[in-house]
């Protein structure tokens, strides 16, 4: 449970990118989170609503793209999604495995509103 410090980092990254894009407001954050990264979506949203208050990203919606844990067997090179607690290779039973995906934890993109776009609408 370290969602508070995580949301503070998210805010810093989102505001920095929105500022360099010349945006007025951040409306959406697109996050990619691997299943190994022990992050809880609801908890992240809860803290996000608090830390984003009073910033140009206040009220921005968080979108989570979950990446399942995928492993590769180092013995037979079978790639598989483990079921339950057993991470061993289902094809040959080897315990020598490597993570292919599932450790991701990054901010993929943000949606922003620009000053100029707003004026052109008026």
């Amino acid at each position: 449970m370290h969602e508070l410090s995580v949301t503070q980092s998210m805010l810093e990254i989102a505001l920095r990118h929105s500022q360099s894009a010349g945006a007025r407001r951040v409306t959406d954050l697109h996050l990619v989170i691997g299943d190994l990264s022990s992050i809880v979506d609801e908890s992240l949203q809860f803290y996000w609503d608090i830390v984003s208050q009073g910033t140009p990203a206040e009220g921005a919606k968080l979108h989570f793209q979950r990446v399942p844990l995928e492993l590769i067997c180092l013995a037979c090179e079978d790639r598989y999604l483990p079921v339950g607690q057993d991470l061993a290779c289902p094809a040959c039973g080897s315990a020598q495995v490597k993570v292919v995906t599932g450790e991701e934890f990054h901010l993929e993109a943000i949606d922003v509103e620009r000053e100029t776009q707003l004026e052109s609408v008026r």
Binding site: H2, A14, A95, V97, H106, E108
Partner: protein, 223 residues
């Protein structure tokens, strides 16, 4: 009208950058940093005490202790003969690179050979936050149960060595060491492992020798 801006940045990149700064500081002072992680009660502080006592003739050691509150652990490290700095995280469940940076400033780094950082007792969060140490060590203990590698994969995956503490309790608790080791093998194949007991001293020598060798190896790359 909204517009998509590509970011593609790791959420904890700010922490990672500070961790790299910490590493540079340790490198320029020529000391080896070790991050000790474990659940509460596994024996991190006991291992720190045993390490300080066991290596004090050979190495100069500093300890950074992370806890939510109190300086009990730092006091124990000082009593064992180390220079110690306590970090109170005030509720945070892990140490991060910023906290360690602050603690490094309180130490005369070039007077030490080995820095032990005792993380907050927790098997989840510390694994996500790099501190800038050269090595990470997980301290497991027999009474925790043999299912921990299966339940806390993140903690077991990124570490460079594993200590299994309290092996003197093996006859009294149901801990299937083969089941435990298979779980570890799945997550971290070939992981260097030290079954030991800080209480009886059984197995401690292998751990102390390894720590000494790591410091020596660091010195050699330095010069």
């Amino acid at each position: 009208m909204s517009q998509r801006v590509a970011v593609v940045e790791k959420i904890l990149s700010a922490n990672d950058r500070l961790a790299a700064d910490n590493r540079t500081r340790l490198d320029s002072a020529g000391l080896l940093g070790m991050n000790l992680m474990a659940s509460p009660g596994a024996g991190k502080t006991s291992l720190v005490e045993a390490t300080v006592r066991g290596l004090s003739g050979r190495l100069r050691m500093a300890v950074i202790d992370g806890d939510i509150a109190t300086r009990l652990d730092a006091d124990r490290a000082v009593a064992a003969g180390a220079t110690a700095v306590q970090i109170n995280t005030g509720g945070e469940c892990h140490l991060d690179a910023v906290m360690v940076q602050g603690a490094l400033e309180q130490l005369k780094l070039d007077q030490f050979d080995l820095l032990l950082i005792e993380n907050v007792g927790n098997l989840i969060c510390p694994a996500s936050f790099q501190l800038g140490t050269h090595l990470s060590v997980l301290v497991a203990s027999v009474p925790e149960g043999d299912d921990k590698p299966y339940k806390y994969p993140g903690a077991y995956r990124g570490v460079d060595a594993l200590v299994i503490n309290k092996i003197d309790l093996l006859p009294y608790v149901s801990f299937d060491i083969d089941h435990f080791r298979r779980g570890v093998e799945l997550l971290n194949p070939g992981l260097t492992t030290f079954p030991l007991s800080c209480r009886t001293g059984q197995g401690l020598d292998a751990w102390l020798d390894w720590a000494g060798v790591q410091v020596e190896a660091k010195r050699r790359t330095q010069t």
